[in-house]
């Protein structure tokens, strides 16, 4: 990309992003991912020795890799799943990225997503009958649902934000606790007040069909949101304040940032994006709120960490994980390898990305890179 040919504002923003150490972070991310996947293969191989089957190694790592990464290419169902997962992971990955950039460990995206999803489903169901027929009505309902999701997600994240800002409560623990609370509360609300009649599982009624859309639209929305957030973070004074508060709070104070307000605002923003993701999950994937929301929140953390908490990086890390998540069902059904393998790889990725020193040492030993 030639910075000289872009409009000034964009070039300026791009210039901010591609700094000297970005290249290094990219290499570390890629190396971490490869290593984690490799280790995942080793785990698969070793686990295969303990499973019940006639051979010594019950699981074939190569087959696992094929399903995890290449399946979208040859299985249209898996492709659909991948697209859906990718869209959702773009939302949650972005949500986490925004909060991590602000220096806040928002582990509560899952809870914000669950409640946002519920709010969206209920709003869509409520507004449905009042909306006009056809596509316009659908857009309206979907719009209202998404706004509801974002608002509720944002408010739910504002709680730990305020607790951190004004009571100095550790946000890692409060957000994790709120995750537990969110699933319990949502379960209660649905089973008590919004339960779909004659249904075996805990779920709401279906949202109006007109409001539903496919993964392509969801992806488009996600990409637009990512670009918007990128611009906000690097092109506006608010973004400058947020980033500075996340890197060096003392300098942010000096620059006139209201620290407490920034904590609450950035958490709310992160929660709103997560809640929006929940709304998209309802409208795109399942068409209602149903108990047992997939762990998109935690995967969002992995996506963001892999992307060095950079929204643009999330554009790449999201689909990567989307593919892996979609593939995890295949490896279970087709190969008998438990799908939790992807959960293990998820943790390994975060661990490896967190230790760039490890790769730096490796790189030096293998003679890569110049002096620092």
């Amino acid at each position: 990309m030639n910075p000289d040919r872009l409009p000034d504002s964009v070039a300026g923003v791009m210039g901010r992003l591609v700094d000297a150490s970005a290249g290094e972070r990219l290499i570390v991310s890629v190396a971490a991912l490869l290593t984690a996947v490799l280790l995942g293969g080793v785990v698969t191989l070793v686990a295969g020795m303990f499973a019940e089957c006639s051979a010594l190694f019950c699981y074939n790592p190569l087959a696992v890799y094929r399903y995890l990464f290449l399946a979208p290419l040859f299985d249209s169902f898996v492709l659909q799943q991948t697209l859906k997962n990718s869209a959702l992971l773009l939302f949650t990955g972005l949500a986490v990225a925004v909060s991590f950039r602000a220096g806040l460990f928002n582990i509560g995206t899952q809870g914000q997503l669950v409640l946002g999803a519920l709010a969206a489903a209920l709003a869509a169901i409520r507004v449905g009958p009042a909306a006009p027929e056809g596509a316009i009505g659908g857009v309206l309902i979907a719009g209202v649902a998404m706004v509801a999701g974002a608002v509720v997600g944002g408010l739910y994240a504002a709680i730990p934000g305020a607790l951190k800002a004004y009571a100095d409560a550790n946000e890692v623990i409060t957000t994790i606790m709120l995750n537990f609370i969110a699933s319990d509360v949502a379960f209660f609300l649905v089973s008590a007040y919004f339960q779909k009649p004659d249904s075996g599982s805990v779920e709401t009624r279906d949202v109006p069909a007109a409001a539903r859309f496919g993964p392509e639209l969801a992806l488009l929305l996600a990409v637009v949101l990512v670009l918007l957030m990128t611009y906000v973070l690097w092109g506006t004074a608010f973004g400058y304040d947020l980033r500075t508060a996340g890197i060096q709070p003392d300098a942010a104070d000096y620059a006139g940032v209201d620290a407490k307000r920034m904590v609450v605002t950035s958490m709310t923003l992160s929660g709103a994006i997560g809640g929006l993701g929940g709304a998209v999950w309802v409208l795109m994937s399942v068409g209602r709120w149903v108990n047992g929301v997939p762990s998109l929140g935690f995967d969002g953390i992995t996506v963001s960490v892999l992307a060095s908490n950079n929204p643009l990086g999330v554009l790449f890390a999201g689909p990567l994980f989307g593919s892996m998540q979609a593939g995890s069902l295949s490896i279970d059904f087709q190969l008998g390898v438990p799908r939790q393998l992807v959960g293990v790889i998820r943790g390994l990725v975060i661990l490896l990305v967190a230790m760039p020193e490890f790769f730096r040492t490796l790189g030096v030993r293998w003679g890569m890179g110049g002096d620092r």
Partner: protein
């Protein structure tokens, strides 16, 4: 003839890109007090770190008490009888005096399963007695004064059997009174046969306390002299290498209305202790008001209250006649208050940002760089480039990361950014800390330019020469109070020292308030 306590021969220490010590010879006689004098970056601390085993010399030999030694770590140095008291104390604050002193060498009982606290306490008390120290072994270190903590550090070294004591800038945080006490301790110790080496860049202290002084410049030993045979100016020339001018040109300026004021200001520090205890001050437009005093007497909190980083418990702050006490930091910046902070790496710059982004620190909403919150990066870059050019910041690259600059250049950039605001009031806290001599003069000239343009300048500094030569009026802070406001041209060093210690000597030449308009 007894061997010298310490004999460093041709010590060279090379770091990537920096030759910190260049074939330095140093001989210290047993039972003497030897000072190591030099500017920042001259290599004094590095040399002593070699002696103390923190660094291995690139070449050269270390001879202690006649025996050649190789130290792999401070443990080896301590075993050889060399102890070091660092500038930043190595004390565990929540633990007691005794616990700190015996740390690592705790006396045990019950077959090693527990620390023998009685024995430890006795050992500490006995040691303190022997060298005439007045300490309470059971006191918690966090509750002690800085001077007392320093004495604990010395006791720690003595407990481990040090015969040679190295002190790194020991007087940096002491009041003149405490400095006197420290020098008395030196006497006690040398009488008991100990050898003392202390690092300093303060000429007067060196001549007062040391028997001999070695001057380092740019990593080389440029001379060892007896302190009786030499005077301040000669030492200063050795230190800097050229004739040093101690005066700055200052033209008289008519002071205007009150530019910056504090009324009855009471500010608490992070622990809830009153750090500023009812301070009244006024800085007129076109005036430099200096605040002298030993670090830690409330200057930081005063500055934070004035600039909006800390809310006072009571009292008012005024900028240009308007009460700004309730205004946020951001509003004060917009009202025209510039602030050169004390801590450049935590507050003044974001180390991972480049200079362009750092140029916006505080001005990110200024119409000069942004329309309604949207940043115009070209204008920001131009701004940074202008600062870099005018203040000779090196490397001259607006895209360089702040952390890649030397401390002096970082400081110059910050000063440039703040002064470029064309501010109404400037609060400058230790603005030339860590800056090389040439740039210090430049910054001083710019500061005086602002004064001529009619800004109200509050200058807080622990460098007495700086604060005396630049100020129109000089206030002294002690224990949270502005003890007195004096005429910097008339007041003597002794009077200043006494004021800084909280005393009120007679016949101090006071400075009349110069602000016109309402007071």
């Amino acid at each position: 003839m007894t061997a010298p306590a310490v004999d460093l021969r041709q010590i060279t220490k090379q770091f990537p890109g920096v030759l910190a010590n260049d074939e330095v010879d140093l001989t210290v006689d047993r039972g003497s007090v030897h000072a190591l004098l030099g500017e920042n970056g001259a290599g004094k601390t590095t040399l002593m770190n070699v002696l103390y085993g923190l660094y291995k010399p690139t070449s050269g030999t270390v001879v202690v008490d006649g025996q050649e030694r190789t130290f792999d770590s401070p443990r080896d140095a301590i075993d050889a009888g060399v102890g070091m008291i660092h500038q930043h104390f190595m004390l565990v604050e929540p633990m007691t005096v005794t616990q700190n002193i015996v740390l690592g060498n705790e006396p045990r009982k019950w077959g090693g399963l527990a620390v023998d606290r009685e024995q430890a306490r006795e050992a500490v008390a006995e040691l303190a007695d022997r060298y005439g120290f007045d300490v309470d072994p059971t006191a918690t270190v966090a509750d002690l004064s800085v001077g007392e903590q320093q004495r604990i550090e010395i006791l720690k070294a003595l407990y481990r059997g040090a015969d040679v004591l190295i002190l790194d800038e020991p007087t940096a945080v002491l009041t003149p009174q405490e400095v006197e006490e420290l020098f008395e301790v030196f006497d006690e110790l040398t009488e008991a046969g100990k050898t003392i080496i202390f690092i300093s860049h303060k000429l007067s202290e060196v001549t007062a306390a040391a028997d001999e002084v070695t001057v380092l410049r740019d990593g080389k030993n440029v001379g060892t002299v007896d302190t009786d045979d030499v005077d301040d100016t000669e030492l200063a020339e050795l230190m800097v290498g050229r004739e040093v001018l101690f005066d700055t040109e200052k033209s008289p300026v008519d002071a205007g209305a009150v530019g910056l004021a504090a009324r009855d200001l009471v500010v608490e520090d992070d622990r809830g202790v009153r750090a500023v205890d009812g301070v009244d001050l006024e800085v007129a437009e076109g005036e430099v008001f200096g605040v002298a005093g030993v670090d830690g007497n409330g200057q930081s909190e005063l500055v934070e209250a004035l600039t909006g980083l800390r809310t006072p418990s009571s009292g008012r702050v005024a900028l240009g006649g308007t009460d700004v006490t309730d205004e946020s930091r951001r509003q004060r910046i917009e009202d025209g208050m510039a602030y050169v902070p004390e801590d450049r790496q935590a507050r003044g710059l974001v180390m991972s940002y480049d200079l362009t982004e750092n140029g916006l620190l505080g001005s990110q909403r200024d119409p000069q760089f942004a329309d309604a919150g949207r940043i115009r990066w070209d204008d920001a870059e131009t701004h940074a480039e202008e600062i870099v050019a005018e203040y000779d910041v090196r490397p001259a690259d607006a895209g360089a990361e702040a952390r890649s600059l030397s401390g002096g250049n970082q400081q110059k950039f910050i000063v440039g950014r703040e002064f470029a605001r064309e501010p109404e009031a400037v609060v400058a806290s230790h603005p030339t800390r860590g800056v090389d001599v040439g740039s210090v003069e430049f910054i001083h000239d710019r500061l005086l330019d602002l004064r001529e343009q009619g800004a109200a300048v509050l200058l807080v500094s622990s460098k007495l020469d700086e604060v005396r030569s630049l100020s129109d009026r000089l206030g002294v802070m002690h224990d949270g109070e502005l003890i007195d406001v004096v005429d910097p041209t008339e007041v003597t060093e002794e009077q200043l020292g006494l004021l800084m210690a909280g005393e009120r000597p007679p016949d101090v030449p006071r400075a009349a308030v110069r602000a016109g308009g309402d007071a």
